[in-house]
Subunit: 224 residues, 2 copies
């Protein structure tokens, strides 16, 4: 069943709130559209560096707009994003390496999704640290990992194979000419179609031959 | 009748293809949503300079993405945008001063809309010059201006009051913290709500209490 579904890769970083929106939409549409989302933890710092881009929101007016845009999107999509007053750059390297371990260990469950959500919640909803081992531990436990698993995953997250894996996923995104996150890749007639940001689902639906039904596709009271 | 409609200001420049998309959508929804769009010719160069921003597409990967995004949007929205192979910056100052004259002379007609479309078509569809007086003349005539009007408008476009008017409209956008075009401003409960780009109509509909029906709101076969 799964093999006949269109594979959609979402490259994301938990320091990107728009990534959370894109992630949520793909989760909600997984059983509505004929798609199989593959969640790919990448490192935003590596994307910015590798593409020669600048971080979003450097311009003061654009930053102001992003905050009001996020507040409105949060309400519309029902995702609890509350931009913190200090939006200075938080490095996500430890968090994304931790998620890389979770992704590598994942079999058929949804642990990666649950841990990712806990990290997004910490950063964008409850405004807690996501850089320290204690913070990653707390997120892992909340997501249903055992204490032993969290400890093992934290150790593994410092290993060379995991560092290399995160680097290779980030490079995979860069190979698609990624310049920021979220970055979504799907194939239509053998051609890689790419989408940047969380405002492209209607266009994606058009290209994929699916129907965009707004942020709540399963609600009978969907607005569209 | 008109006074009860929500005034929506669209600040635009004809060197911005996303402005064309936003313009088209507002035209199509004018009699579908309870809105009264006000088209405000502004100068993108002044917006970029005044906000301290950089022009879009400086990053090579982002530029590649913009081209494929525009081609897809063009097809989806039914607006004939064909990005030229050379996207090097074309200065729109003469064109936007010309449109400022048209806007100032407009009474209740749609001349501003028609001349704007002719200029967008030249730049983004037939890839013709929009900087020289002869080009502006051709666009004006195609849009239905008389030869006398075009001549008068070209002379006026070099006058101080028109230069000042374009500067003041550009400043009006900057006062709303504009950092790029298209930039849309509407008021909800006395608060200015701003939207950047051409991907925000669904969110705008949500905020305005209207229904987004995709790019063809009047077609019975609308996809949404």
């Amino acid at each position: 069943m799964s093999s006949s579904r269109k594979i959609i890769k979402l490259f994301y970083d938990v320091t990107s709130p728009y990534s959370w929106l894109a992630f949520e939409v793909l989760c909600r549409y997984r059983n509505v559209w004929n798609i199989d989302p593959k969640f790919k933890p990448a490192y935003l710092g590596g994307i910015i560096h590798g593409s020669g881009n600048t971080v979003p929101g450097l311009n003061p007016s654009e930053l102001l707009y992003m905050v009001s845009d996020l507040i409105l999107l949060s309400e519309y999509f029902g995702v609890p994003i509350f931009p913190p007053s200090d939006l200075s750059k938080i490095d996500s390297l430890n968090a994304m390496r931790f998620l890389t371990v979770v992704a590598e260990r994942e079999k058929k469950g949804d642990t990666l999704e649950r841990v990712s959500i806990e990290l997004w919640k910490r950063m964008w909803c409850t405004h807690k640290d996501i850089t320290q081992p204690a913070s990653l531990t707390e997120a892992g436990l909340k997501a249903g990992l055992s204490a032993n698993e969290v400890e093992e995953f934290l150790t593994l997250s410092k290993s060379q194979p995991i560092k290399d894996k995160l680097r290779s996923v980030t490079q995979e995104a860069l190979d698609y000419k990624c310049f920021g996150l979220p970055f979504i890749v799907g194939h239509v007639n053998g051609k890689a179609e790419i989408f940047f940001g969380s405002d492209k689902f209607e266009l994606m639906a058009y290209l994929f031959g699916e129907k965009w039904m707004g942020p709540y596709p399963n609600k009978p009271t969907a607005t569209m």
